[in-house]
Structures are given as C-alpha cells and as structure tokens.
C-alpha cells in the first residue's frame, strides 16, 4: 500500500512540472479582489479562455502596495508569472531596463495600437527606446467625489454641486450623526484624496508645476497653501471613519453612514454591485465639481520573459485579447473605468461614466502622479500627507514646507 502511495506521489511530482511546461496555462497576477473588481476580472478570464488557452487566476489580496513587492520579487527571483498587472507609469521602469519583460512591439504594430489607444500618453508610458512593453487596459481617474444622496436627505440639505457647497453642508451632516468624509486608514487613500484636492483647488497649472515639473517654489506658493487648508478641514471631517480598506469606506457612503468619499472611479464598481443607480442613489462630482478633469492613471499588463516558447505565444494572444473591442467594453463596464480604445461603443455606460467620457473627449486630461513621480518620491510624499492627516498637532504650514522640500529633491 505504502509503496503504491509513494509511487503515486512520485509520479505526480514528475507529471506536474511537465504539465506546466507544455500546457498554455498562463498565470495572471493582479490585485483586483473587491466585489466589482472580481466581476471585471472574470470577464478577462472568459475572453482569454475562449482563445483555447487557460487563465490561471493569481489574485493577491491587500491592494497594490502589498501585491507589487510580491510580483516584483517573483519576476526578479526567476519565477515569472505569465502576465501581471501594474499601474500606468514608472512602476516597472527598471524591470524593462533589466531586460526582464517581454517586448510586445510585434503585436502592437500588427494590431495598430498606436492608432486606437487614446490618449497616446498611455502607450508612451509603455514605450522604452521605441519598443512597447505593456498592454494598457483601462483608464482610471482619481478625480472623483462620490456622494450619498440619502445622507444629505437625512441631514436636510440639498446634495452639493461642488466642494464649496459640500463645505457648507458639513455642519448639518455632523449634527445628523453622519461622517462627512470617509477616508480609509490605508495611507494611499489620504494621499489620493489630497492629490485630488490639489488638482481641483490649486488649479491645473499649479498642479502641473508641482507634480510634473517638480517646482518647489510652486509647492510653497499661497496657491498650493489652499490645498493644505482644505486638507486641514478634511482630516477633521474624516476622523470618525475608523475603517481600513477603501471599499469599506465606500460602503459607508453606500449605506449612508458617511456623506462623501474622494476616491477614484473604481469606487463606482462597488455602487453597481450594491445595486445603486447613479443620479438617484448616489452623485458623482468629477474634479470635486470645481475643475472637471480626468487623470489618466489606470492599469496595464506586463509580460515577464518566459523560457518556454509556447507560453510566449500565449502571452501574445493575451495581449491582443486585452485590447480586443469586446473585452474592453465588457471589462470596463464592470470595473467602472474607461476603455483605452476610443473606437468602442459604450451605450451601456451609466451617467457617471458618460460624464467621464465627455471630459475625456474634450481633452481635459492630466497624467496621473504615478506617471510623473518615481515610486520613491511618491512614498516620501505619502509619509508627509498621512502623518499630517492623523496628527492634529501638525499645522498645514509645517506639512507644506516638508512637502516642498521633498518636491525639491524629487526624481
């Protein structure tokens, strides 16, 4: 008996590596784990499986901050996955330089990515020395504020149309026992909310000077001080949030426990899963209702180099599947993001998404700060903001000075 079991186990260990080597299973790692996100990933898997290959899901829970180190150490450690998600921007810059990622130029040229992907800056951030290393998947914009209509009704004030009206409604919300602004405990959330306030309240030009040109004087200017003053108020409005994850914070808005959340358009997926309708149950304000822009952050897929030819072929198939018109529509409708192709039909999009598409069509776009600043700088700025957000004794002036010092040394 025992010998038979041992033999079976041995046989299994021999068969297993062989199986992996010859099948066109492709392991895809990503950090999409909330309800709306998982539904969107299922669309990608369905489309890829339809090509005769197999999508092996490698979801890593805990958000990008947790997932990226795992992905990077797998790639640099010689255990590359078939494909992996990163955000648009500079997160994979050094992996490309080290020659660890697959060159997709051939597929890209064959399928005319250059003409169909808009805005062109997305493909530019995939391009290094004239070669294309990633497949952009969607556009996510941080520049949104989500409001719970029910919460404002309960407080007896009309749903605000911009940040300044929201400010006036806060006392009424607080009196009704509603948290005015939900900001989760994870540090990227306060950083993100701050960046959105920067675009909306300091204006596009000042934002560009600080975040793109890395001009420290602009970061010290009275224009930018407005942002810190607003953040000072926002940290007081959000102090009763007491949840960690972004989707828990969104859930507070969905259930009306909180009145508003500043969060990227991925929050919309949560409203959809909860069965809420834009305009009726919740309201969205692009650019806090002050400065309607879309920042073109989002996700792209990168393909680590593989030893096995078969897998490389499957990678190319996946790359072209991701940019397929049908996949783009199916995925982005579920995800609440905007497709990277300008030539798809989005009649099924809801009110908020249509607002976003309008702004995009008008060309009011900004790069995402992850595309202009290195992860190192982003991390330093995040430290300043999250400390400011949680420490009432730090004045806005002190935080602004620290922030400007980092911008002065940014790379």
């Amino acid at each position: 008996m025992n010998i038979r079991v041992t033999a079976a186990v041995l046989a299994a260990t021999v068969v297993l590596p062989l199986g992996v080597a010859h099948a066109t299973d492709l392991e895809v790692t990503h950090w999409w784990t909330s309800g709306g996100e998982a539904a969107a990933v299922a669309e990608l898997a369905k489309a890829f499986d339809a090509t005769g290959n197999k999508w092996v899901d490698g979801a890593i829970a805990g958000g990008g901050d947790t997932a990226r180190p795992i992905m990077i150490s797998r790639i640099t450690g010689g255990d590359p996955m078939g494909a992996t998600q990163f955000n648009h921007g500079r997160q994979a810059e050094e992996l490309i330089e080290a020659g660890l990622l697959q060159d997709l130029t051939e597929v890209a040229e064959k399928e005319n990515w250059k003409d169909v992907i808009r805005p062109a800056s997305l493909l530019d951030s995939c391009t290094k020395d004239g070669k294309i290393y990633c497949a952009p998947l969607n556009i996510h914009s941080w520049q949104w504020m989500w409001l719970s209509n029910a919460a404002f009704e309960k407080a007896g004030v009309p749903v605000p149309k911009d940040w300044y009206e929201f400010e006036k409604a806060v006392p009424a919300l607080e009196k009704a026992g509603i948290v005015p602004l939900a900001v989760g405990g994870q540090s990227w959330q306060s950083k993100g909310a701050f960046d959105v306030m920067a675009v909306a309240l300091a204006g596009t030009d000042t934002w560009k000077k600080v975040y793109v040109e890395k001009n420290a004087d602009a970061a010290r200017s009275p224009e930018f001080a407005k942002v810190w003053a607003a953040a000072d108020k926002a940290r007081q409005w959000s102090k009763d949030t007491k949840v960690q994850d972004w989707n828990q914070a969104t859930n507070m808005v969905i259930t009306g426990k909180a009145a508003a959340q500043i969060m990227g358009d991925w929050a919309q997926g949560e409203f959809q899963v909860a069965g809420q309708t834009a305009g009726k149950d919740y309201t969205c304000l692009p650019g806090l209702g002050v400065n309607a822009v879309i920042s073109t952050g989002g996700d792209a897929f990168y393909f680590p180099k593989q030893k096995d030819e078969e897998k490389t072929k499957a990678q190319m198939v996946l790359a072209s599947t991701l940019l397929n018109k049908d996949t783009q529509v199916a995925f982005n409708l579920k995800k609440g993001s905007v497709p990277v192709r300008g030539d798809v039909d989005l009649a099924a999009a809801n009110d908020c998404m249509k607002k976003g598409l309008d702004i995009l069509a008008k060309g009011n776009i900004l790069p995402d700060s992850t595309m202009t600043l290195s992860p190192d700088t982003t991390n330093q700025l995040q430290d300043v903001i999250v400390q400011f957000w949680n420490t009432p004794s730090i004045t806005p002036e002190q935080a602004q000075a620290q922030f400007a010092d980092i911008i002065a040394k940014a790379d």
Partner: protein, 301 residues
C-alpha cells in the same frame, strides 16, 4: 566514529576528518549566507540602487537622507521606548513568575502551560487578538464602560502618544512565558544546599534571591537577554498586524521602514542603509555575549 578514531592520531587538520566534513556545509552557510550577505548589504547601502541592485556609489547620501527622514526618527524612538520597556518588563515579570512557580505550588504544570501558551502563537495572531482587545468599541474600554464607568477611556491603538505601549502590552503578553521558563530552569539548577545554608544563616528569602541566586544565574540572564534583545530589534509583524504603523506614522519601527523602502518604494539603497543601521545594535548585543560564552567555555574546559 570507528573510521575517524584510528585517524585521530594524525596532525590537527586531519583529526576527526569526518566530523569536520560534516560541519563544512554549516560553516559555508555561515560564511556565505550570513557574513557574505551582511557585507553585500553594507556595500550596496553606499549605492544609489533603486529597484535592482546597481554598483553606483554615492557615498553617505543614503545615510544622510535616512537620518533626515521623520519616519526613520520616529521608528528609532519607538524602538528605543519599546526596547527598554520590553527588556525590563519581561525580565522582571518573567523572573517573578518563575520565582513564584518555584515555591513548589500545586498544579505547577498547568500554570506553566498557561503562561507559556501565548508564546506558541505567532506575532500576527497575537497582534490581531490584541487589536480586538484594545479596540475601543469592542474591547476593554467597552467592557469597563458597560460595567458603569462611562467616562473610562482606553484606546491606545488610536492615540498617537501611547500607541507604542499598546503594542508593548501584546509583546509582553506573548514573550514573558518563555523568559519565565528559562528562569525557572535556571532556578531549578541552583543547589538545594545553598537554600539550606541561607536559611541556617537566617537570611530572608528576598535577600537570598537578590544577592545569591540571581548572581549565580548569570548565564541564564545572558541567554534571556540575547533572546529578548534580538526579538526587540526585529519587531515587525506585531506592528503590521496591530496598527499597520498607524495612526499616521506613530507606531512605525525600523524593520518596517526597511521593508517599505526596499519593496514598496523601490529604493534598495535606502532600505540597505536602514538595515545596516539596524545591524549595529545587534552587533553591540551579540559580540559581548559571544565573548562571554566562548571565554566561559574555555575556562570550564
């Protein structure tokens, strides 16, 4: 044994050759992995390595930036407060518990198991358990308030000034049991005759402990010290599970800074510089211990 014994009369190098060959892998591991890895890290801490290690030297830039970073300063301060309190508390509580256990009490086995049990839990589990206990809405504060003291306030994990003590409570709870066991073993090693002699001379019990027994237990204390010391320097998972470094950056610790920079911020150089700084207290702890240990052994032959 039978092979090496006849060969044992040859020169020093070939004596016990089998034993030497057997320890070779361990020696290699120690040299290559521990020493080599340490040297590699120190060397690369002087470079501007980002995501991947590169030999582009920048002198002391990484260290300058490290000591100019608020978060690192907070981390070091936290580690110092945590370290001093943890060292004193776990030694004192561990010894007192051991001394009490040594009074030939009934059900000693049961008590020993109860005290040692937390040590069987990982820091992650400990952290999560204490996160709940210290949560103002579900834990201690709520229980005391529901007993009638409605003004009672106890939310260390949500208060920047005392958050590190919230972590300390969990660490002491988890670590003291082991120290107690080591101390108890030490106490059992003290000759019964010494107690008898002290009793004949009419020395009070506490004096016997403080002036006779504790000095005799020196090696035990050193072992306990090294164990506690290394646990202090590497504290990481407890913080991650309990507070995630929050609120804000109030409960950050050096190990977390290293991880954050190496893997999240893609700045290896900065992470290496921080971990080199962490190595220094370890060396300060380990070198005297090794010295005592080895010189002591030689003395006893």
């Amino acid at each position: 044994m039978s092979v090496s014994a006849p060969e044992g009369r040859r020169s020093g190098l070939t004596r016990n050759i089998a034993a030497k060959i057997a320890t070779l892998p361990m020696i290699l591991t120690a040299l290559v992995v521990f020493l080599g890895g340490t040297i590699w890290t120190v060397v690369y801490s002087f470079t501007s390595s980002k995501l991947l290690p590169k030999l582009a030297f920048v002198g002391f830039d990484q260290y300058e930036r490290l000591w100019g970073t608020e978060r690192w300063i907070v981390s070091v301060k936290n580690l110092m407060i945590y370290g001093v309190c943890m060292l004193i508390l776990s030694l004192v509580i561990g010894f007192i518990l051991a001394a009490l256990m040594d009074q030939k009490i009934r059900f000693e086995n049961t008590f020993r198991t109860i005290y040692l049990y937390p040590f069987a839990l990982s820091f992650i589990v400990t952290g999560l358990v204490w996160q709940w206990i210290l949560n103002p809405e579900y834990g201690v504060q709520n229980v005391v308030r529901s007993l009638g003291w409605t003004s009672f306030n106890f939310d260390p994990l949500y208060n920047q000034d005392i958050v590190i003590f919230g972590i300390l409570i969990a660490a002491v709870w988890q670590g003291t049991g082991l120290i107690m066991c080591i101390m108890l073993a030490g106490l059992r090693g003290i000759d019964e005759d010494i107690w008898k002699a002290a009793r004949v001379d009419g020395i009070p019990m506490w004096k016997t402990y403080v002036f006779i027994v504790i000095p005799m237990m020196r090696p035990v204390f050193i072992t306990a010290l090294v164990l506690i010391g290394s646990a202090i320097v590497k504290v990481y998972d407890l913080v991650v599970a309990q507070t995630g470094g929050g609120p804000g950056i109030a409960s950050e610790v050096p190990a977390k800074y290293v991880y954050q920079n190496m893997f999240y911020a893609q700045n290896l150089g900065q992470g290496f510089a921080a971990s080199t700084m962490m190595l220094i207290p370890v060396i300060i702890l380990v070198v005297p211990w090794a010295y005592l240990e080895f010189s002591g052994r030689r003395r006893h032959g």
